[in-house]
Amino acid sequence: MAKKPISFMLNGRKVETLVEPRELLIHVIREQLNQTGSHIGCETSHCGACTVDLNGRSVKSCTVLAVQAEGGTVLTVEGLPKNGTLHPLQEAFTQEHGLQCGYCTPGMLVRAYRFLQENPNPTEEQIRFGMSGNLCRCTGYMNIVKAVQSAAKKMQAAGGK
């Protein structure tokens, strides 16, 4: 199958690669660009393990074609730390024990990152609804919710960054 060149910003860095038109974004990110933080859990958009941020929206990258990222901006878990400092969400997930096996965690973090931009001061119910596209089988969600709440507070205190 003829390959097509694509280029997009991945975690603040311009990447260029050749993809088949049918190739999925998650496979290109993981297998060609070697950013294996984002995971594959279902390949049907249900579980959210592959969640990345594409042009300011959370997307399930297992059902997005890589060519759709052409010219766009993609953020994965690898892009969350700033200047070598962990994002408040990353700190909060470990502080509140919001992860166990770690498989859903990158998708959770990237979704929470976008969610808190959409709603910087959410209630518990809003967090539960806002995170409901991401499944976790280990934690029962309580500590994930706590982690998002605690990160929101810290980010608010730090000026909404």
Partner: protein, 802 residues
Amino acid sequence: MATTAEAVEREQKLQGVGCSRRRKEDARFIQGKGTYVDDIKLPGMLFGSIVRSPYAHARIKSINKAKALAVPGVVAVLTADDLKPVNLHWMPTLGGDVQAVLADKKVCFQMQEVAMVLATDRYAAADGVAQVEVEYDELPAIVDPHKSMAPGAPVIREDIADKKEVGHGPRTHPNHIFTWEAGDKAGTDAVFANAPVTVREEILNPRVHPCPMETCGCVASFDKVAGQLTVYLTSQAPHLVRTVVAMLSGIPESKIRLVGGDIGGGFGNKVPVYPGYVVAIVASIVTGVPIKWIESRIENLSTTGFARDYHGIGELAADKDGRIQALRFTALADHGAFNSHVSATKFPAGLFSICTGSYAIPKAYCRVDAVYTNKAPGGVAYRCSLRVTEAVYLIERMIDILAQKLNIDKAEIRRRNFVKAEQFPYTTALGWTLDSGNYRAALDKVLKAVNYEALRKEQAEKRARGELMGIGISTFTEIVGAGPNKACDILGISLFDSCDIRVNPTGSAIARLGTMSQGQGHATTYAQIIATELGLSSDEIQIEEGDTDKAPYGAGTWGSRSTPVGGAAAAVAARKVKAKAQKIAAHLLEVAEGDLEWDVDRFKVKGNPSQAKTMKEIAMAAHTSNIPDGMEKGLDGSEYYDPPNMTYPFGAYLCVVDIDRFTGETKVRRFYALDDCGTRINPMIIEGQIHGGLTEAYAVAMGQQLVFDSGGNILSNSLMDYFVPTAVETPKWETDYTVTPSPHHPIGAKGVAESPHVGGIPCFSNAVVDAFAHLGVTHMDMPHSAFNVWKTIHKLGLDKHA
């Protein structure tokens, strides 16, 4: 135990047992730096994808590879005929049966493995799978296990039709696998014949799937020059898998390296050896290039690791006050097309005989009949020791049914039947010796916390108004930590576990264990156990497991055995280190060993505490010549631990549900879970495990089921159709605890991660049924989806508008 403020401060710095310290494994996971099997990428690696049967039961007339081989990128197509020359088209199962690695002339369940396409990437492999042409002759399928042993039923396993047994005693029908029983049948029957009260109920534990977030997979890499096989594999038991691979392949076990890496949840799904692994390994041995095989979610739910499918009948005999005199439980077990059921050799029905629960029941008998059907093989335990959920579900449902029959309160009937605190250790009628417990105290604490009497009062008022409110209680006893080596083995290998500790000169340490974390936090909790034993900071104790070239042999992590067996090995190995350290300290301080006492992180001279040597100082000395004459250098210790008994964690749970009488929707208003897992190592991690276990219990009770149509087509093999709760549906959990240490475990710990699953499921069911108890309903099978509950409502006519 530290006594002075200064000693307490030193103890806190260790972050040992009892400390809710942050997890050591988190740093890589929150930064996307875990190494799961699909992250492994080796030079020249091919991708394997499996051609699967569309039929539940069919003969294979022909397989034509030509079109697939013409697909760009496809390198090979393997079928049973290609595996025959190496005699690997069939493999032995852990259940004493054999299983087709790739279907040999016949398929026996839908989605069975027929061929593997090897290609340069996953897209080409998928293209190749689509082009493999298989001609089938469909045969009638058996879906209902009750019909498996009917006269004239289609024979599912022609390959063993004439075999008198498949590992576990005589067979009475070609579709019969085994019959297993325990207890005193005649004595039990006699009690039932004369009992003042008896109850009987048919109770299903539906076929479900553990569905971890990461599916199963492997990367097999055979180095032809060195004769060395490396397999990165999603395994909860890498050492056992290495042994199986050695037996199957003939490669010396010393030249096989299994690497567990990071595992994205297991819950039982990742204990067995699956055909996909075997084909990938064979393909790598034949081609000499690395082969990756990763399941899709649909393949995962369809083929690997179902659990349960126990069609039970529960019976209790009691006196008029509800004191149980005898128990008689039977189950028809649907094991699918191959008996690849995972269990210790002598326990074909797992630990089902724990079914007497938390109650002192004088006479008991249980029996399990296992049969073949045209469904995926198995099964595994889903977050429980094998068949424990089935057993606990039966007793916890049956005691409620007895309470209803006698009009006794459901908490009170439990109090009347509990094994009393002073009766421990208590040997049950079916032969298990419960190590410790205080069931009544646990239940009373929960009832007080939720104000049980007020809840019952509210329920009575709601019933009077026609509203549906249910209160469920579960007072369960778990059985974990397989197991005592006299009784427990797999493939003849005893179920011990191991720990190997090496203390470095500067006082940090590395410990390697035979278990395998899948999210339980072993890198943290094992370090905490060793920290407390040795007086070294858990921050400086590195834990390694899962790489068979590094870790000592062990049976792995399943059946909540890590803390009971691996944790015990860690404590005992640390005590061996400490014993040597004491000798060195005595030498350094020029006193007798008996003149020393342990103080958090040091040995001090009794009566002269300023004379002391810290473990760090001793560690350095152990690597110098300043040690007793004749002592070898170093500060190491290792232990292969054979547990003297299983451990028996327990708990008391209470659930309150409100049910919409028009839609059947069930809202969990409250779930209060008290767990007693003995000594608590890391309360934060324990609580996390309980949240997760309760959520999986909620999933099973309220929605999960692998559903088949009459042709054996699986109807629930994607996350669209198989229920995994999101943060929205998942109830909020309230947790509590008591501490009743295990008397035989070195630190008194019992294991905890499975309790909330085992104890939680009956609690939900008991709550849902309780909402209808005043209307004469004694049982409703899981899952309690809105539709299923509505069916009960509708049958009772409750959905009529006034």
